[in-house]
Assembly symmetry: C2
Homo-oligomer: 241 residues x 2
């Protein structure tokens, strides 16, 4: 990881969290997505063994967490605070979907540190807490039961941000040696020959067999090694002449 990753400039702020287990699980969620800066505003219990247990390998995030009394303190040095809200209170100030907002939040890290703010498990962010945030974001969810667990919401929020940052691309896979057109033609010829020799295919009445086998083979996206394997199998299965 580059020290200059924009994710290192994003903190997660948990406001008035009731259950210490959620703090630990949120720390773990952050860590899996490359975030490390946790701020706790007036947590009910912290530190707490349950938080430590659920943080698993992310205990460092808990150890470095800052505990403050007010949201204003947590946001004092932030150039942008995004408040997460599941409920749609005042529709004229409705939150926008986080997937739309995440790239902007990421871009804001060029100006200074950014905060993602999550409210209490039961009541969410209070109105005055939401007003302290410049942006409101929503994680799309089933209106019949939109109640994501706090740490699950943190997981999704950090995941979106990590993907917006393209922070963890797939490692390059071992280069595969793909079969060429000539490999495939040779395989089809071998198959036809074997099927004719076996009597399965009548060369005077081929029907659509060739077409169907070609459609099948096209979907296989074969490697050279697999073509060789199939040649071998066809050879072994073919009736001896």
């Amino acid at each position: 990881m580059k020290a200059t990753s924009p994710l290192s400039r994003v903190s997660v702020v948990l406001v008035r969290t009731s259950h210490p287990g959620n703090i630990g699980a949120a720390a773990r969620a952050m860590r899996t997505m490359g975030l490390a800066d946790l701020v706790l505003v007036a947590p009910r219990h912290f530190p707490h063994p349950e938080a430590t247990a659920l943080a698993a390998g992310a205990s460092g995030v808990l150890e470095d967490a800052r505990v403050v009394d007010t949201l204003a303190e947590a946001l004092a040095d932030r150039v942008l605070a995004v408040g997460f809200s599941a409920r749609l209170r005042d529709l004229s100030h409705a939150p926008r979907d986080w997937r739309e907002e995440a790239p902007g939040a990421l871009a804001a890290t060029a100006d200074g540190p950014v905060a993602l703010v999550f409210g209490n498990e039961t009541s969410g962010l209070a109105n005055d807490e939401l007003l302290a945030c410049q942006r409101h974001a929503r994680i799309p969810a089933d209106p019949a039961y939109p109640s994501l667990n706090l740490a699950a919401a943190v997981q999704v929020a950090c995941y979106e941000l990590a993907l917006a940052a393209a922070a963890f691309p797939m490692p390059a896979r071992a280069r595969r040696e793909a079969a060429t057109g000539a490999d495939l033609e040779a395989l089809h010829a071998r198959l036809r020959e074997a099927l004719e020799a076996s009597g399965f295919l009548d060369p005077r009445e081929p029907g659509r067999l060739d077409e169907r086998m070609r459609r099948l083979a096209a979907r296989l996206d074969l490697e050279k090694e697999e073509v060789a394997l199939l040649h071998g199998m066809l050879g072994a299965l073919s009736p001896r002449r």
Copy 2:
């Protein structure tokens, strides 16, 4: 929710889950994203009070869950099984990022039911379990600590699928009555007048004040009601002539 939602044709299959709390939390995660079909392959403890507690409002998902002995049973009627894997075993069969795979999995629901398969908390999916899946997916994560909690992985997986299905769009927001160009011009004129009357602005030496105020106002994306409010404030603040 439409009864025909493709999400209703996707099951989550948890294989050899150790901790019943994770089963409950996974059920909750599914429910928030509109999935309801949970299959448990040889869970260590189920049913279990901890599962029920962590399912919160999604206890119905647990009550309807099917428990089977083998992964083959769970997948017998599925047209597609996607195995989730954090580790990059054999790079020639590396999983692809779930965001890329999710639309294809969703499309497959047109052919029949689909399964998302998650392994044991500690060991993940065994090789033979992965081989029973036609696709392998990965949730991008920090290589330094890629260890998402099981329910957190289920949350992200279902979230991606729900977004691929555009299942839960933002409800239409109250129509805002945006300010027009004429509204803004009138506001700028009023501001200029007030500032001149107050002596803050010398009309012979206006400098760049007008430009700066226009840039500010442009960012505000004002509503008609807000323009009226600002007019009122300017009127009250202006020195009486």
